[in-house]
Symmetry: C2
Subunit: 237 residues, 2 copies
């Protein structure tokens, strides 16, 4: 599909097309489109830009990810929307990418691995399926060298069940989630309320400055993002 | 897919599956899933129930639809989510259903017609393509006996361009749109900020009481819906 660059919703339509491409290439599920639409709505309320709160959350996230043994979880929408940037982040943080899917099939796992190898990853974890975490869904299947054993897990576009399971295991969970009301947003140690297509490149930039970990008040940060959404809901009347 | 009724998000998952079924049967486009996701987010902020504002908007809408020559526009998500209820509404209001699609193909038009005939409609407008309204998209193709000539148009899950074009033609536009900030929501004469799966059956019930048209302040009503969303954004901290 040809989208004219002059279209007022050009970027929005482009990202949608990337997810459709992910579906056609087998690494993204159709349900990824629903999740994307949900994200579009919350991003709209954020004004479609990275807030100062999201910026602070990205900085804290990078500091934590760099100072501990970390892993970057990946799902179909990450593969569709920002595979290259995710690989770059993985390299600057020296943290592997692990594929972890709710709608897991061997074909999708292989297509995900292929997508990240194409994007420049040297290795992609998650296909080994040699460990489990305590949840019922297919997301329980993890890699002993990755999510299972690492202290800090970056979980973009997450489901609440897994976040809770990772917290029970004592891990430090960093979420990227446009919905500040989600279970994940509330349970994570750091929640980056931002669109991954903006947050991931920003994290790459921030990592180059090697920020130091200074602690983080997630509840206060979430309240800040919610205040922006509330403000946008009243301004637009 | 079997969804256990005990699942906390049972209804949400069920409606999602209905859209996937619509895609598989050819009447819903993949982009319908994105629109659905967007709706899910706004519905979440509404508390997933019909507000007093939405109830008042439904009542005014029914009064207007009953007292003027009306038509009910239908797209792929309406067909997927509430075809039967839409046909019932069409009958109680004595207003025909007209299919009008952004991603229009002859196959989708036929599949839409089939879906509404199955659901009990006696006739489905929109396939004749014998008139046009002033927009560039495929949505310009309308039926001379329907959208083109009728005074009042119900447009669920709408795009802003068409709403503006219908307004320029002097029509009374009633929108069902979960996003109170959308162009459609602001431009329509009545905007029902509610999920179609709740609003359409409610309109059927209200129509039986034959409400009288008493005028409607759409800006005030929209502000009420936005206030609910703002409230939910702060309560959930």
């Amino acid at each position: 599909m040809n989208i004219p660059k002059s279209h007022p919703r050009y970027k929005s339509l482009l990202y949608r097309e990337k997810i459709v491409e992910g579906i056609n290439r087998g690494y993204t599920s159709q349900v990824g489109l629903v999740a994307h639409g949900r994200g579009e709505a919350f991003d709209y309320l954020l004004g479609e830009k990275t807030s100062s709160y999201a910026h602070a959350a990205c900085e804290a996230a990078v500091a934590k990810l760099m100072s501990t043994r970390s892993v970057l979880s990946a799902n179909g929408n990450v593969a569709a929307l920002c595979a290259e940037e995710y690989v770059t982040l993985s390299k600057v943080l020296n943290a592997p990418i692990e594929v972890n899917l709710f709608y897991r099939t061997p074909e999708r796992m292989k297509a995900m691995e292929k997508r990240f190898l194409e994007a420049g990853a040297e290795e992609v974890l998650g296909l080994a399926e040699d460990a489990e975490i305590q949840i019922e869904s297919e997301r329980r299947k993890v890699d002993s060298r990755g999510i299972y054993s690492r202290e800090t897990v970056l979980v973009p576009l997450e489901d609440g069940d897994r976040t809770e399971a990772l917290k029970r295991m004592g891990k430090f969970v960093i979420a990227i989630d446009l919905n500040p009301l989600s279970r994940t947003a509330k349970k994570a140690d750091i929640t980056i309320v931002d669109n991954i297509v903006r947050a991931v490149p920003l994290m790459v930039e921030l990592a180059k400055k090697k920020p130091r970990w200074r602690g983080f008040d997630n509840a206060a940060n979430l309240a800040g993002s919610m205040a922006i959404m509330q403000q946008n809901l009243s301004n637009s009347q």
